[in-house]
């Protein structure tokens, strides 16, 4: 069942401005981690803005949990949380107070606010720093605090706008674990990212948008299939002569000689590793290395959106 519905969303900033979003549609299922990918200025942030009550659509309909965002923004705000790209913490408050006042806005009682805030600070590795002013927090800590704050009121849908941009590898891995945990607990997550490895690892489905339009929507594996030419097997073998003739029956082959009688071969097409190994056996060669070639999401992304700078 769809928890997010975006139907023919259009947004023009100002009467004569360019259209930031020109007719985007997609739905997100309950419990799904959904990725919104696209170059800078593609319309991702505008789309998130429309879903989170911050952007008024020029036309089209957006709904969360079956509620039209335009018609009942308060009911939508009760169900969602947003972690923005740039820090927007309340700087005169301590870390703990950032969480407790956020919960107060959502109607939590005084005791519940504090209990939940301390539990989340602990979960996000901020125990012992709850009294600090958030001005003294590092970028990674501020990011973790913003996610903890977003979770304070138990949102059904969590929006993460480029959550790992600028984070160190430790913080990024930590965040990935948290996203996977939230998914297991049933929270629906919509995230935007430029990091293809991140999208590949986390997302159940991905929509790629460019120039305000949705140009692809599939699972990560489905998207990689859009580049069939980039699939196959890569081998390193020891053999007295070029192995190309013996492998040619399996698909298109490229070979190159390496030092010490080694050959490097790339076999493109629908080749399984077992077929490749059998062929190596038959020619009496010794296998040194075997790797499956898969088009990366990044290849697909560049293929779909082009190489032009934005």
């Amino acid at each position: 069942m769809a928890i997010i519905e975006v139907d023919e969303l259009r947004k023009r900033y100002g009467p004569s401005g360019p259209e930031a979003v020109s007719g985007v549609s997609f739905t997100v299922r309950r419990g799904e981690v959904f990725g919104l990918l696209g170059p800078n200025g593609a319309g991702k942030t505008t789309t998130i803005g429309a879903l989170t009550t911050r952007v008024r659509p020029t036309s089209g309909r957006v709904a969360v949990d079956g509620i039209d965002v335009q018609r009942d923004p308060v009911a939508v705000k009760q169900r969602i949380a947003v972690v923005p790209q740039r820090p927007n913490l309340d700087r005169v408050l301590s870390a703990l107070e950032n969480l407790t006042f956020h919960a107060a806005y959502f109607g939590y009682s005084r005791g519940d606010r504090k209990r939940r805030a301390l539990a989340l600070l602990d979960e996000f590795g901020l125990a012992g720093r709850e009294g600090d002013r958030v001005d003294n927090y590092s970028g990674g800590m501020a990011q973790r605090l913003m996610i903890a704050r977003a979770l304070m009121h138990r949102p059904h849908v969590l929006f993460l706008d480029e959550p790992t941009t600028g984070l160190d590898p430790q913080s990024r891995l930590f965040l990935w674990d948290q996203i996977e945990r939230l998914r297991r607990e049933g929270t629906t997550i919509l995230l935007t990212t430029h990091d293809m490895a991140e999208a590949d690892r986390l997302c159940d489905r991905i929509a790629i948008v460019d120039h305000g339009k949705r140009i692809a929507l599939d699972t990560p594996a489905g998207l990689r299939d859009l580049l069939p030419g980039a699939r196959g097997v890569e081998l390193t073998v020891v053999h007295p002569s070029d192995p190309a003739p013996a492998l040619a029956a399996l698909g298109d082959v490229e070979t190159s000689a390496q030092e010490a009688g080694r050959w490097h071969a790339r076999l493109y097409g629908e080749v399984t590793p077992a077929q490749a190994l059998a062929a190596v056996d038959r020619m009496g060669a010794e296998i040194v290395d075997l790797r499956r070639i898969e088009g990366t999401l990044e290849d697909v992304f560049v293929q779909l959106t082009g190489r032009d700078l934005r």
């Binding site: 900033y13 803005g49 009550t53 911050r54 308060v74 927007n88 408050l93 109607g107 138990r154």
Partner: protein
Amino acid sequence: MSTASERAAATAGRGSPVAPEAPALSPRAATVRAFLALLERDAWVTFRRDLAAFLAQSLMQPLFFLFTFGRVLPEIGAAQGAYGKQLLPGILALTLVITALQNTSLPLVIEFSFTKEIEDRLLAPLPAALVGLEKIVFASLRATVAALLILPMAAVVLPGGVDLGSVSWLGFLALLVMGSLAGASLGMVLGTAVPPNRINVVFAVFLTPLIFTGATFYPWQALDGLRWFQVITLINPMTYVSEGMRSALTDGPTLATGWIALGIVAATVAFAALGLKGFLRRAVD
């Protein structure tokens, strides 16, 4: 709108066992709770965090106005001894309007542009316009507190002290509420209409005339001999607050009560409408 049980079912089984369930509130109830919580946050920051800054920011200017014009000038013979009696209502109005104005406009500029912290409040479960209204209400509260603190200060600074014998308390109370709301509404107009990097220029250009044409340092009636200026001062909403304070605190001649009420109410309604419109333009693209 889902029912409480649907909401509870949808959120069941999440998170650590100590975590309580989200309160299942109707949008209307959630709005009331959120509005009160925003006030609570601002009160906490004002009185538990920034009390000294708040007092300094609100009281330094009136203190020096009272001291210089109410005490120094009469003592060196540049003003009459009773001038302080005319000055006090003006300083009360000035503190009320300017404190409310600054406490709305400056935080708005900072929170929309630099810290972005308003975003978290705009996502709280209440209509965006009420986030703006809360700013006006709380700035008015701060201004009222500041204005009330002027009274003991004036009792010490002014040579004649403060005579509360002929005060109309009901009128004084109404002026505290309406005068601060007028100032805060004007502050919301300035804080949302101007690009953030221009706010200091706007303050310089707006505040000085506002302070000096608002019948602050002289009763409006005394301008009879300077007719053109007397007419100009009627454009300034602070004139009505000053004259109102004069009417509530002294028995000298002032603008008629009806004009005072009309001036303040009209200014408040107009600026609040304009200011909230500006706020929504900034809050929702």
